[in-house]
């Protein structure tokens, strides 16, 4: 006989995870689609009753987005322009039904190469917080997702929050998704970028990420380096070169072929940076 646990305290949840293997269930938007036509017969830890896991809070050095925060929560939260990419990504996750139920933590832990939230979170320099009975650790999102459908989460750990650092500079981000239809579409390619700039309007740092073009979403360090020091404005898009896309290793699938994905990623990035550069220059 399997279990269905829906604790109301984090300690109870972590204790249960420590006792036996449990599949973690939050919004159910990835869980049930993997079980079409099959009875649900594994033991589950439903984390939707853990109140502290849902919602967005702020400290002096970071924002904390609870793992069970939904995409609709992100869309409706009064977040600064730094989060524009995440908000745009939230609007592209499934339809409104999925946005109302699906969670940030689930999107990250499901570790799909086409997870809509991950490029934006990479561009925001996000870290994830993992808790277990033995304590809490945080690690960069890029280190957490180790491969398609694989993460660094240990069986007794629960992803409790996504942490977005404050870097103390003016910042703005943007996200773009390419699919073969308007709604409810798995991405062919995605791009997200975040710029931080100084009072003279020069890019101090840039973080750029591309999704659905590698086993996991990837940052593009060479492009980020090329953007640093440039003046804000629509010309930022011209910084993108083919060599910057070297970290990507797209595949052929039913949605597109690899060559196209690479080509499209370049186009998305040029347009994204051009628009973002202009938005930042003329907010």
């Amino acid at each position: 006989m399997s279990l269905y646990l829906r604790p109301e305290s984090l300690n109870d949840a972590l204790a249960a995870l420590g006792r036996q293997p449990l599949t973690v269930l939050a919004g159910g938007t990835d869980f049930y689609p993997a079980r079409v036509g099959r009875p649900v017969d594994e033991s589950l830890l439903d984390i939707s009753a853990l109140a502290p896991l849902r919602g967005i809070s702020e400290t002096s050095d970071h924002w904390r987005l609870g793992a069970a925060t939904t995409w609709t929560d992100v869309i409706e939260a009064p977040l600064p322009p730094l989060f524009q990419a995440l908000r745009q990504a939230a609007r592209e996750v499934g339809g409104v039904q999925i946005q109302n139920a699906g969670t940030l933590g689930g999107n990250v832990c499901n570790a799909s190469p086409a997870a809509d939230g991950v490029p934006a979170l990479l561009a925001l320099d996000a870290r994830v917080e993992l808790a277990s009975r033995s304590g809490t650790r945080a690690l960069p999102l890029a280190d957490f997702i180790t491969g398609p459908r694989r993460t660094a989460r240990a069986a007794d750990e629960l992803l409790t929050a996504v942490l977005v650092p404050r870097h103390g500079l003016a910042a703005r981000s943007r996200f773009a998704k390419l699919g073969a239809r308007r709604y409810l579409v798995i991405s062919i390619a995605m791009a997200a970028a975040c710029l931080e700039w100084d009072t003279t309007g020069r890019v101090v740092s840039a973080r750029v990420a591309v999704g659905a073009c590698a086993p996991v979403a990837r940052r593009l360090p060479a492009l980020e380096a090329a953007l640093a020091g440039r003046a804000l404005g629509p010309a930022l898009g011209e910084a993108v070169s083919e060599a910057h896309l070297a970290p990507l290793s797209p595949i052929d699938d039913v949605r597109a072929d690899a060559a196209y994905r690479l080509d499209a990623a370049g186009t998305l990035l040029r347009r994204l940076l051009s628009t973002l550069g202009a938005e930042a220059a003329f907010p």
Binding site: M1, S2, L3, Y4, R6, L25, G27, G28, T29, F31, Y32, P33, V36, G37, R38, P39, V40, D41, S43, L44, D46, S48, T72, R91, G94, G95, V96, Q97, I98, N100, A101, L178, A180, R181, R182, Y183, L184, V185, I186, I188, D252, V254, R255, A256, D257, A259, Y260, R261, D263, A264, T267, L268
Partner: protein, 926 residues
Amino acid sequence: MNDPRPPAESIAFTVNGAPVAVRAAPATRLADLLRDELGLTGTKIGCNAGDCGSCTVLLDGRQVCACLTPVAQAGGRAVTTIEGLGRDGRLAPIQAAFHRHLGAQCGICTPGMILAAADLLARHPNPTEAQVQDGLGGVLCRCTGYRKIVEAVMDAAAHAPLPAAPPAGSALGARALKADGVAKVTGADRFGADGIPADALWLRVVRSPHARATFTLGDLDAVRRAHPGIEAILTAAHVPANGYGIYPDVKDQPVLAAGEVRYRGEAVLALVGSRAAVEALRDDALPIHWSVQSPVVGIDAAMAPGAALVQAAKPGNFLVEGQVRSGDTAAALRDCAAVAEGRFETSFVEHAYIEPEAGWARRTGDRVEIHVTTQTPFMDRDEVALVLGLRPEQVRIVPTACGGGFGGKLDLSVQPLVALAAWRLGRPVACVYTRPESMMATTKRHPARIHARFGADAQGRLQAVEFDALFNTGAYASWGPTVANRVPVHAMGPYRVANASTRGRAFLTNEPVAGAFRGFGVPQAAIAHEALMDDLAEQLGLDRLEIRRRNALRAGDTTCTGQRLEASCGLPQCLDALDPHWQAALADAAAFNARGGPVRRGVGIGCMWYGIGNTALSNPSSMRIGITPEGRVVFHNGCADIGQGTNTTMLQVVADAAGLPMEAIQWIAGDTDLTLDAGKSSASRQAFVSGKAAQLAGQDLRARVLAATGAAEPARISLEAGVLRATDAAGEHVLPLQGLPVNANGFVIEGTGRFDPPTTKLDAHGQGIPYATYAFAAQMAVVDVDTELGTVKPVRIVAAHDVGRALNPQQVEGQIHGGIAQGLGLALMEEYLAGRTENLHDYLIPSVGDVPPIEVILVEDREPLGPGGAKGVGEPALIPTPPAILGAIRHATGVQMRFVPVLPHRLRAALTGGGEPGPQEARPHP
């Protein structure tokens, strides 16, 4: 066996304002609980994966997919389903708006759409179109093309009253509301999975994971004994006559495979028992010993010398050939001023109706009764009787509401399985396909490979057409012969041409069974004939609309089958109506493109003709209407309403013919025990063929009423309790009905009508009269092509259709919108790949954000044979759209795409590859 599921818990929440407490396994999908435990079947299940949104309910006022919500998470919260929207038997404003605007066709997505809209309207009472699209983006509809849904949501706040029903004698041609519309917007309509008796056993089909294999079965009795709750495991050996098929002489498809499977998804075993037991017994626990063989995939492999045979009795994997020959094509091509030639290729396309196949059966003595979602009750009856070894009268088909068909519910699915199990076990047995099962097991649109040459004189007059189509018909014949015979007749397009040599051949492969799908191969052919007409226009320096006008078939012309078209050839009028839009769109595109940038705008045109009804075969419909001793008028309508609206249009026709108001007539649709055979809802035939039969039945009833009362025309007839009144110039004639003899149908006065469109067989050269009438259409598409990304965004469609007469203009518009959406999908996104796109997130159909504004122009060049002049529109709506879109892409970019769907990577490759991409270059990756 121990139930591995978590134990039931007590969970309390409110549903539609009322508190409920249930005992359920906490991980139970809320959709299942609402339907199975609470009886709220207005919540529909289309995919169980969050891909279609048809199960949308409100949870604390927010739209969610009930299929993705564990019941545990509903605890303490408020659930609102479609049943909770209206109050005191009145429609909520959003329901009334859907009813008023024809937001529901088949109605299967309607509850989810309405709840998504309710969520939106609670936040934005007067939403913009963009807000409506965002709010409804999570619900797929396959019937409507979304435009009328968007109109309905934007108009909900107006609280406009429902229009009154048309008065007696003016129903035909009126924008009458759907006769079953209230049932659809309230979720009360019962679809295939909605009326399953509580005591029904469940049937789960075990399907082949292999495209080609032989197999042996181990000890299934031991499996059954080891799994309490499993009542029976059915195999091929249990099927009395294990072969069915559309054609009387081709019964090649087994109900359950007999030692050999020919496509992935073929039925092998049927597990019958409790629902929990059949779902828990997994395929890999069954003793099926496979010997896997290399499958025959694709037309080339099927035609290759020495190819393995998909069916041993079909040498060369050749199924069938059809052709039309007139004049001397080779000689005429030599003399042409311009000759265009091209190769074109299309993909498997999935019907993707939102309702998966579903139904249930029970045995009643020596009869079996099947409640099922279907397009063809009487053919189902005869086919089930055949495989069960029964007489047709021993089988009763009771069609449920049908949640979309489009040709896919013309073939048997659950019918023979539930009937066989119910017959053997003496208990009701139900089967509901899962979405992946529906996609892998049922029919598809035929992939086509077409090579064609079109020649014209210097004035652009078509002189000769040479057309050769190869169709991949998959593992079994199904409707392959229909496609191979229909296409050669239509392959030259709706144009006058003296010399034609057209041919269609179908080959078997180890791929999904290709069957009927809206257009029977003609949409594939239209892609070729319209591209070549564009080529000829370009070569000759003619406007693309003008070359079509010069060639358009007109009354008095003779077709390539030697048929003289006597009347109702409205293509010239369609083109004239399109012309101002065409000129304006060309000017607009030129101005748009002059501004530069990576996005280029293009305008394309597509024309079509479509023979209404079966090709060169008898296809009669019969209808009956009568008066009961109590004075009720009851219409026995044999049409299966698959969303296209025959429950309404047939009523409009019969009402006017009888001279009664629509609302005075009760109706029964499609029960084989109660109605006459009105044939299949296919081939765009119901308005024309069944409509005519309904008209004749209504006229017959009226004549008998007048005879019985002694009244003479002009007369007005009316009924009240037990009394028939007819008023003519001489005064009122009153006939008490009580005491009159009652016939076997329960009627004291009965009218019947039968119509079989006059056609002839085709001879060896395809000469004859294949259809009694043809529909015509011309559509124009405007698209924006992002040349850097290869994406295509349709901006606007204008559709001019000669429908003869619109029985109900609102429904005709709805059919055209829906056909256009499917045509758009075929052109731009739909490609079924066995094993890879067996769900609605890898297989894409258009969403609410993908269908542009559509302007419909109705041309009514009346067909003398049709009811009120009507022909048909169901399939014609789809056919011109893909060529119009492809033509627009070409106009925008200069690239002619000859392989559909035009996915972004294919178009981008064509744009950057230098040169025209042929089908080989554009092939998908294996």
